[in-house]
Amino acid sequence: MTAALEVTIAREIGEFELDVAFTVESGMSVLFGPSGAGKSLTLSLIAGLIRPDTGTVVINGRVVTDCDRRIHVSPQERRIGMVFQDGLLLPHRSVLDNVALAVRQASGRRARRVVARSWLERVGAEGFADRRPGSLSGGQRQRVALARGLAGDPALVLLDEPLSSLDSAVRGELGSLIRGVIISSGIPAVLVTHDAEEAEELGDVVIAYNDGRVTGRRIVERPVRPEPQRGAPESTEPA
């Protein structure tokens, strides 16, 4: 079976050196480590927002970065969904438009909006589809960002500390939602966190980071669940 993601990259930024190698299968993989360990930088390199000095990135068997062969597929062509720490929604667009912009599998504005609305429903954000991101709370914004990250039918979802700017009550609820939606959609995901409890609760696999290196890898024991169907729109129940 092809791994969802194979990463072997090195990048030097000033004094900091990142040099990591790992593979990710289906489900939720968590990059866990202290701030400044290079976790978010790794996500940017996987997404193609930054180029590595050396190495390769393979998503679903497709080489998107290979420094030796001078391959660098643009972020637009990588078919990844990304959820950022602060959501980074477009403030001048409605919530629905923000999600609809990400929809690639439907043509025409109306069709894209239908898909976008279904994703907003899945994350429990359909009630504020017509609002601007500026009028939403942090938790609501991250729900929308999650819908946007998944709406483009990506091969891989990258979540960069999506819960770190939220208070603890919202974090628990949103964390469960994120895991539930990711698992039910069948789209492999890589989540970055510096919170050990969060890593344990959300991850199927925890990849430990420290000072630009992978220092460990652990499979989190969970009750056996039925195999999810990729892209299945019905289930919105958190795990």
Binding site: P75, Q76, M82, L90, P91, H92, R104, G152
Partner: protein, 261 residues
């Protein structure tokens, strides 16, 4: 009402009297002045309507051209990674720094059919580019352009690059990121540049005088006509119209920049 009452109570009686007197005097003064100018405007409208409409014919296309080229070049300067960007910005800003007559001189050098460049341009366009409305539009565009370009560059550089990166991960090609993310987010700064640029195009004098020739009924815009009629009563009408045009342009662009996109 409540705030007004609180404000009034906090003032002493002498202050209140002074404010009332000042309000009455200013109010009467403004009312009388506006009424006088309006009466003059109506009386002299026949004289000033020509320069007024000519000014519109010059300033509107000049603002549009300067806006489009200014935003496009501001974007390139903000996003491009090539040597000499600052030199290019300085060159583009020269019309702000140089005396308008010097700008007019160089425009004549470039546009006059007697010069090499001007002769070539005249052949390409198919008609003479000086001493007509086209010349006035070119002069007003050159005057307005640097304000549009500089404001656009600053505004575009101020857009959070992370938001643009997020848009790229959605699959939007770079041209859509520019049109649907960067420019809308920079719109207030761009509108500020357009505001100043349009006011500059409306009031352009020196270069327009040299390139347009101040020909009555053909290239005499309002700002040129004011000097020509400086000792006549219709100058007040022209002044009022110019002020109103500038205020309208500024208000209009300001409102547009605040509107939902």
């Amino acid at each position: 009402m409540k705030r007004g009452a609180v404000f009034a109570r906090t003032l002493g009686s002498r202050h209140k009297t002074a404010i009332i007197v000042a309000t009455v005097v200013v109010g009467f003064g403004l009312g009388f002045g506006v009424a006088h100018l309006m009466a003059g405007s109506i009386a002299y409208w026949g004289v000033v309507s020509g320069p007024f409409f000519l000014t519109l014919r010059v300033a509107i296309p000049a603002t549009v051209i300067a806006g489009i080229t200014g935003v496009a070049s501001g974007y390139v300067l903000a996003k491009g990674r090539f040597p000499g960007r600052d030199v290019l910005e300085t060159l583009g800003s020269l019309p702000i720094i140089l005396p308008p007559t010097v700008v007019g001189y160089y425009l004549l050098e470039v546009l006059s059919p007697g010069t090499q460049v001007g002769g070539f341009l005249t052949r390409v366009v198919g008609h003479v580019l000086v001493y007509n409305v086209t010349g006035c539009i070119v002069a007003a565009t050159v005057a307005a352009y640097p304000f549009c370009m500089r404001a656009a560059r600053t505004a575009i550089e101020g857009v959070d690059p992370l938001v643009e990166q997020a848009a790229r991960t959605l699959g939007l090609p770079n041209w859509r990121v520019a049109l649907q993310v960067t420019l809308p987010l920079a719109r207030r700064g761009i509108a500020a540049g357009l505001t100043i640029g349009s006011a500059r195009a409306i009031g352009e004098y020196g270069a327009t005088l040299m390139v347009g020739g101040d020909i009555n009924g053909k290239t005499r815009t309002l700002s040129l006509a004011i000097l020509d009629s400086f000792t006549t009563p219709e100058r007040n009408t022209m002044l009022l119209i110019l002020v109103l045009m500038a205020v309208t342009a500024m208000t209009g662009v300001g409102l547009l920049s605040r509107s939902r996109t």
